[in-house]
């Protein structure tokens, strides 16, 4: 079975490009050119130079001894939290802005939920001197004020999405509408492995640097280039796609995805798409999404704004359906406990999104001789207000 995209833009039953005709020329231009552009030696050179000198790659693979001792196995942390701007998101925005330049585009539009992708996009736009518009749900603008300020400091225009539920899915709709209204000079930098083909594949390729590094780093440290488990959290699924990418066809590596179960999978306040979703079309691709019987998209809930999305990318829907990856639902409470544990055992404050991935050790029951790699997708600075509030740190 193949876990990569086929020539029709599908992963098994999921994927495709369900877009209105108004977007067809843009998406088709991207589809017909992205592989050639990425393969150009000048692109590879520029991409890798920026990842090294600007983002700070390779990010360390850190052996977490105290966590390992607690769970009686060998736990490694892949430190994407040390990337410039504090999360893996910038691997993708660097790649896409280099593609946009080669397509002759002068303006960038993006969507953002927590603001991490918005900040990563505003950052590369500043770096490349491109105009940047970021759509953000009006509600998210209020609850993620520091990232709004960072985007503005970087020169981006932050546009409130006031339609629908005023959160990430609506910001994505608005970014798509903006692209429809500005088809010639603008490139849309999607922030996860979602959207119409070729976005899921393109974003996965840019994030694949994560698993490429894990391979050689494990080879150095453990004398073998694969772990027994790779764990990552899944919002849309970009950090997981990057952490899984080079192990998709490695049967000795189990792929573990942590979804946000909010107040509990069946509480009515959850974002655990593989548990609650049905096949359908959202934001341009066929995948699993949370929806009513009538096919209306349901607004999800999670303590973590980056996992608060009603769908997952088509690659993950395929990994789920085929059984290649195992999906766990992690509640707000479990994530908070894991965040404290990682902070106090390893001195690393993780992002709330990442905390969901750190919460599955107990359930994993890895053996003492096995190797577990967790992708630490981001750092917890942006979540301090939530941590202060929920953990009563100031009392």
């Amino acid at each position: 079975m193949s876990f990569n995209v086929d020539e029709r833009g599908y992963y098994g039953n999921f994927g495709g490009a369900f877009i209105p005709e108004m977007l067809y020329p843009n998406v088709e231009e991207l589809r017909s050119r992205y592989l050639d552009i990425i393969a150009e030696p000048s692109f590879q050179e520029e991409f890798h130079a920026l990842l090294k000198d600007y983002v700070g790659r390779p990010t360390p693979l850190f052996k977490a001894d105290r966590l390992s001792a607690k769970y009686n196995t060998n736990i490694y942390l892949k430190r994407e939290d040390l990337c410039h701007t504090g999360a893996h998101k910038i691997n993708n925005t660097i790649g896409q802005i280099l593609v946009a330049k080669r397509l002759g585009k002068s303006k960038i539009v993006a969507e953002t939920g927590a603001g991490q992708h918005g900040v990563a996009t505003a950052t590369v736009c500043a770096l490349m001197g491109m105009e940047c518009i970021v759509y953000m749900g009006a509600i998210d603008i209020e609850r993620q004020a520091p990232n709004v300020a960072r985007m503005r400091m970087l020169g981006a225009q932050v546009m409130p999405a006031t339609s629908g539920s005023k959160t990430l899915k609506d910001a994505t709709n608005e970014a798509m509408r903006h692209w429809i209204n500005h088809p010639v000079d603008t490139h849309y930098i999607i922030g996860s492995v979602v959207g119409p083909h070729p976005y899921p594949d393109m974003v996965a390729r840019f994030q694949a640097v994560i698993s490429e590094e894990i391979r050689f780093q494990l080879q150095e440290k453990e004398g073998r280039d694969y772990p027994d488990y790779v764990i990552a959290c899944v919002g849309g699924g970009s950090n997981a796609a990057g952490a899984f990418y080079h192990f998709l066809d490695e049967p000795r590596t189990a792929l573990i995805a942590a979804e946000a179960a909010g107040l509990g999978v069946n509480s009515g306040h959850s974002a655990a798409t593989t548990f609650l979703g049905k096949p359908g079309v959202l934001h341009g691709s066929k995948s699993l999404s949370m929806q009513t019987e009538d096919g209306q998209v349901i607004e999800p809930y999670s303590i973590s704004a980056g996992l608060d999305y009603p769908g997952i990318g088509p690659m993950h829907a395929h990994l789920f359906e085929s059984g290649r990856a195992t999906f766990y639902g992690v509640t707000d409470e479990e994530a908070l406990v894991a965040a404290v544990e990682c902070s106090q055992l390893e001195g690393i404050i993780p992002a709330l999104e990442t905390a969901h991935a750190l919460a599955v050790f107990e359930r994993l029951q890895a053996k003492p001789n096995e190797i577990v790699v967790v992708n630490v997708s981001g750092r917890g600075d942006k979540d301090l207000a939530t941590y202060q509030n929920r953990l009563k740190l100031n009392d």
Binding site: G16, A17, F18, I19, P20, E21, M22, Y24, P25, S163, G164, K169, D170, N173, M176, R177, I180, N181, H182, P183, V184, K278, P279, G280, V281, L282, H283, G284, S289, Q291, E293, D294, G295, Q296, V297
Partner: protein
């Protein structure tokens, strides 16, 4: 299919520009759908396009988005729409299209949806996020089995080769989007747009064309109709019914004013 589709019959016999009006089902009030349809027909509309409300209508601008949201909040659904349209053909003789997004259709079940359309007397579908390749691969056979025309869009950015392909797959008419935009984003017809309209007119396509997006009054309707068989009005109509005090009378007056008959 022995019976001629109402859309084909209309285009074959029309002597004046065709007016297609879009309305959101379940709007302004949940049970207004049939009132709106009957008034549109009484006013002299030639085709009625009934929008199936969706939570995430990416091709639509603010006016239609808000009407979709309001209709959903009032309890509108695909199943309820079919209930409302159950006896539609007792009064409505003009062609009726359903417009909407593919996800609710997938949840209803494509075949069940098409069967229900045929049963209540729907003539065609406009599903902007169902692209032509997907239509040809997985939907065309089912739509045709139930005699439903799939109306495809072209835009100023669609190249000639693709327009020819769309023309070969289309039945009924081609929906010509007047500018690169979402619905209701722009109003009026510019000189550039007229160049685009006449370029397409000169292609001698096998299907007739209706022009939509940005048509809001008699003037833009007449301008658009010079280079096509007629035009489509959506946002301007939805805006009007949002504020109408006497819904039926104002709809009749609106349609007549667009057609220049009052």
């Amino acid at each position: 299919m022995t019976k001629m589709n109402r859309i084909s019959a209309l285009f074959a016999s029309a002597t004046e520009p065709i007016l297609n009006v879009y309305t959101t089902a379940g709007y302004p009030h949940l049970e207004d759908t049939m009132t709106v349809l009957n008034a549109l027909q009484a006013g002299g509309v030639d085709i009625i396009e009934v929008g199936m409300p969706y939570s995430d209508p990416v091709a639509d601008g603010e006016t239609i988005q808000l009407s979709n949201q309001a209709a959903l909040e009032q309890g509108m659904s695909v199943a309820h729409l079919f209930e409302q349209l159950k006896d539609m053909r007792k009064s409505i003789t003009v062609p009726v299209l359903l417009m909407g997004y593919i996800n609710p259709v997938l949840q209803y079940g494509v075949e069940a949806f098409c069967a229900k359309c045929a049963e209540v007397g729907v003539d065609g579908l406009i599903l902007p996020d169902l692209p032509m390749v997907e239509y040809e691969a997985s939907y065309r056979e089912i739509f045709e089995k139930y005699g439903l025309f799939n109306i495809l869009l072209i835009t100023p950015q669609t190249n000639d080769e693709r327009i020819r392909h769309i023309d070969s797959v289309s039945k009924g008419f081609i929906y010509m989007v007047s500018s690169a935009s979402t619905t209701g984003a722009k109003t009026g017809i510019s000189a550039d747009q007229e160049v685009y309209f006449s370029r397409i007119a000169a292609m001698n396509l096998q299907n007739p064309r209706l022009i939509g997006f940005g048509i809001s009054d008699h003037d833009s309707f007449v301008k658009a109709s010079k280079n096509a068989s007629g035009a489509i009005i959506g946002s301007a109509f939805v805006k009007m019914i949002a504020q109408a005090k006497d819904l039926s009378a104002e709809i009749v007056a609106f349609v007549q004013s667009i057609k220049g008959k009052n």
